[in-house]
């Protein structure tokens, strides 16, 4: 029943995750070709919109990570030119990609998320916000993590173990975004739950479907920084994660809740932390355009659920037309 479509795969772009995006895009292209679709690859540069207008594809497959592709910018543009695309719409993208907004929404909805405070660079310059940092660090406690509010590169994530390290960590994180989130550092097991739409084209609406849990297991016990944590070869992935059944169910349940709360479509990956000392599950963040490379978590999770990469790509593709 699969229909041949003319698909523009959007990849690359200017974000720090350009390299990953190019690999995701290439992998998706291969699958689309194998599925019999007509594929055009478009690097999301200054010619993106003119190129799409000229190419007139049936739909766009968004394989862009980070800035533009994940923060709703490209989605809004595609809405404006009337081109269907895969995955979440602009509002969901903005809610997921802005960690401060996502965390506020989760907190209000009663979904466990680490204690946090956002801090804007401008408020330090213009509102004397530096005077608030003492209160913030007291309420959160050390060690803490400073993350750029928007942006998925591991480079921007900074640790502070002591008060002395906080200014440097803030300045470092501000280099990637003008707003940061200061958050309690959670020690434990890194889990990821990918969620895909439950209903397929033409079916009755159903709740989204959580795929098997993936655990990222670092090769070394303690990490100096996040960068090494995500370095290829420094981490091995276990899927399905070896967890008690109730923990798996809880993680999957939380992921589906977050997916619905933030209004995701098609596919998303929810990252969680299983805290070592308390055994609590915390939701870290939601990625609206999860990696699609050979080593990415979503394809691994789909694989564990018996969904081939082609099937996964086809399902994501359907989210574009079901809209």
């Amino acid at each position: 029943m699969s229909l041949t479509r003319r698909v523009a795969v959007l990849k690359g772009g200017r974000s720090l995750e350009r390299a990953v995006s190019l690999r995701s895009g290439a992998h998706v292209q291969d699958a689309l070709l194998r599925l019999g679709h007509e594929v055009v690859a478009v690097d999301a540069g200054p010619a993106l919109v003119p190129e799409l207008l000229e190419l007139e594809p049936d739909l766009a497959f968004i394989a862009l990570h980070g800035r533009d592709g994940e923060d709703g910018t490209v989605q809004s543009l595609l809405d404006a030119i009337g081109l269907a695309y895969t995955g979440s719409g602009p509002a969901a993208c903005m809610r997921c990609t802005n960690k401060a907004l996502a965390k506020y929404m989760m907190r209000e909805a009663g979904i466990p998320t680490a204690p946090f405070h956002p801090l804007a660079e401008l408020s330090i310059k213009e509102l004397g916000a530096a005077a608030a940092t003492a209160r913030i660090q007291d309420s959160i406690g050390f060690p803490l993590v400073v993350k750029p509010a928007i942006g998925g590169s591991a480079l921007g994530v900074k640790f502070a173990r002591t008060e002395e390290e906080l200014p440097g960590a803030l300045v470092g994180a501000f280099s990637y975004d003008r707003t940061v989130v200061i958050e309690r550092y959670l020690r434990g097991r890194d889990l990821a739950v990918s969620v895909i739409d439950g209903a397929r084209e033409g079916e009755q609406p159903r709740r989204p479907l959580a795929l098997p849990v993936v655990e990222a297991v670092p090769r070394e016990e303690e990490f100096y920084d996040y960068e090494s944590r995500y370095q290829i070869g420094m981490t091995t992935f276990v899927c399905p994660a070896e967890l008690p059944p109730e923990t798996t169910a809880r993680a999957q349940g939380l992921a589906v809740e977050v997916y619905e709360l933030l209004g995701c479509r098609g596919v998303a990956r929810v990252d969680l932390m299983l805290e070592r000392d308390t055994g609590e599950l915390w939701v870290l963040e939601t990625n609206v355009v999860p990696g699609m490379t050979e080593t990415s978590l979503l394809p691994q999770a789909a694989d564990a659920a018996g969904i081939t990469f082609e099937e996964l790509v086809e399902r994501v593709l359907e989210s574009a037309t079901a809209r």
Partner: protein, 486 residues
């Protein structure tokens, strides 16, 4: 295990991804674990755009090479030696090219026999072949801190254990080297070789003093240690007296007009002619040379015949004064780069003073600048590429652990025209001041930058040379300058 193809058929039933990954992972050699991608290097790749002023590259300025000479020489090689230029050549290199190498080394006061030379595919291949020849996993290499960023992936790929000795304004301090060797020795370990860039070090910009060169050779002879002397920029000296190569000092120590038996020399045409040729060379003790040759056979059989013949034809060219054209061109490069170095030093004086310190190289391509220790230049690059469209090499790239040197940066002054040097430094300064301003607001303190490299301690009375490094100067108030820069 089936690795080829995608499984064929209609594609619908292909099992890929996770399983495929596990299949490949199981096949990868242990050494590939040392071949790490890094987010920082990926970010560096993003700065290679025409709208970005990049002071990051290791590039010489190839735009100065006369196009008509280039096309005439290429035409000559093509017409006179079609068959040979298109053919494989000897692994050790073509005799005519080796003669050119002997000539280049003589210009630096180093006498070598053609039979001691191997032509390589860039100087980088020497690093690879030397590691291939000498390094088993876990073997120790002693290098400088900071060290040539391009050596880091090579050393890592061979799973070497790299000990970095912090340099000062006179290069690698031999006392510190001795302590490192003693510490290793206490663990029953000795380095396979000591890696140094003695002239206008990449990235530090400093030069090893003559006294230290002598001590290094004496130490190497006393302890029977090999030295890998990486000398790409020796002829690009803009001031001061040329210093003898480690190779020639060792040969002298051997005596009887002999050749060095402990120094593996690395040279390249990349900086005095063109990196696009991909031609470098090594001069090494015979047993090492033989292994390098065998290693090269496995790597690429031989370096490009076309570019080797181009070099030979180029070295036969005479300038208007009857002297060798290549010497004239190196002179031209020296004049050009000297001016650019001075432009960059002046720009640093204008835009960095009070907030950073930097080295004052006597030659080469690079300046090493060190900022407030709370600034991580990898983050600064993230900010600067975004808001200022400017790039440099973060200091961490020069450290094997990927963490040290975080507040330093390498700036290339050779590959960029003067106006872009000025503008690039101005932009980096502006981004740096933005971070410093923020730090000031958060801590209520002003900037403190350590010296880019320490002044040499009075290790030995004879080693006192204080002319290499520009120490921090407290000039204008940063606040006043910040206003002017807006």
């Amino acid at each position: 295990m089936e690795l080829s193809g995608s499984g064929g058929g209609d594609g619908r039933g292909t099992r890929a991804t996770a399983h495929e990954l596990a299949r490949y992972e199981a096949l990868f050699a242990a050494r590939t674990r040392g071949m790490k991608s890094s987010a920082m290097r990926e970010m560096m790749a993003l700065t290679e755009r025409p709208d970005v002023i990049s002071l990051a590259g290791g590039l010489p300025d190839t735009s100065t090479f006369p196009p008509e000479l280039y096309s005439r020489l290429m035409a000559k090689v093509a017409a006179d030696s079609t068959a040979r230029a298109l053919q494989y050549g000897p692994t050790e290199g073509m005799a005519a090219t080796v003669d050119c190498i002997v000539e280049v080394m003589a210009a630096e006061g180093t006498r070598v026999e053609p039979s001691e030379v191997i032509v390589t595919t860039g100087g980088q291949q020497v690093l690879d072949l030397v590691c291939k020849t000498l390094i088993d996993p876990g073997d120790v290499i002693v290098a400088e801190a900071p060290t040539y960023p391009g050596a880091v992936p090579t050393f890592s790929a061979y799973q070497a254990d790299v000990e970095q000795v912090e340099i000062d304004a006179d290069g690698m301090p031999i006392d510190a080297l001795e302590s490192t060797l003693d510490r290793l020795s206490a663990q029953g370990r000795r380095p396979k070789f000591i890696y140094t860039v003695p002239n206008f070090q990449n990235p530090g910009g400093v030069t090893m003093s003559l006294a230290r060169r002598r001590r290094l050779i004496a130490l190497a002879r006393e302890r029977e240690l090999l030295i890998l002397e990486d000398n790409p920029y020796g002829l690009l000296r803009y001031e001061g007296e040329p210093l003898p190569t480690l190779y020639s000092l060792d040969a002298e120590a051997v005596g009887r007009g002999g050749t060095s038996d402990l120094v593996i020399y690395l040279g390249t045409f990349s900086k005095i002619l063109s990196p696009g040729l991909r031609l470098g060379w090594s001069v090494a003790p015979r047993p090492v040379l033989e292994k390098l040759n065998l290693g090269k056979q496995g790597a690429d059989l031989c370096s490009s015949s076309v570019t080797q013949m181009f070099v030979a034809a180029y070295f036969a060219e005479r300038a208007a004064d009857g002297g060798p054209e290549w010497r004239r061109y190196v002179e031209e490069l020296r004049a050009l780069y000297r001016t650019r170095r001075d432009v960059m030093l002046a720009a640093l004086e204008e835009h960095f003073v009070g907030d950073a310190t930097w080295t004052r190289p006597q030659g080469g391509l690079f300046i090493w600048a060190t900022l407030d220790e709370r600034i991580d230049t990898t983050d600064l690059l993230a900010l600067a590429r975004k808001t200022e469209s400017v790039a440099f090499v973060p200091g961490r790239a020069a450290f094997v652990d990927g963490r040290s040197g975080a507040s330093s940066m390498r700036l290339n002054f050779a590959g960029v025209p003067e106006e872009r040097i000025r503008e690039g430094v101005r932009r980096i300064g502006r981004a740096m001041r933005e971070q410093l301003g923020l730090l000031g607001s958060l801590t209520g303190t002003s900037a403190k930058a350590r010296p880019p490299v320490a002044a040499p301690a009075s290790e030995k009375a004879t080693e006192r040379m204080a002319d290499v490094v520009a120490l921090p100067r407290r000039g204008e108030q940063p606040a006043a300058r910040r206003q002017r820069d807006r």
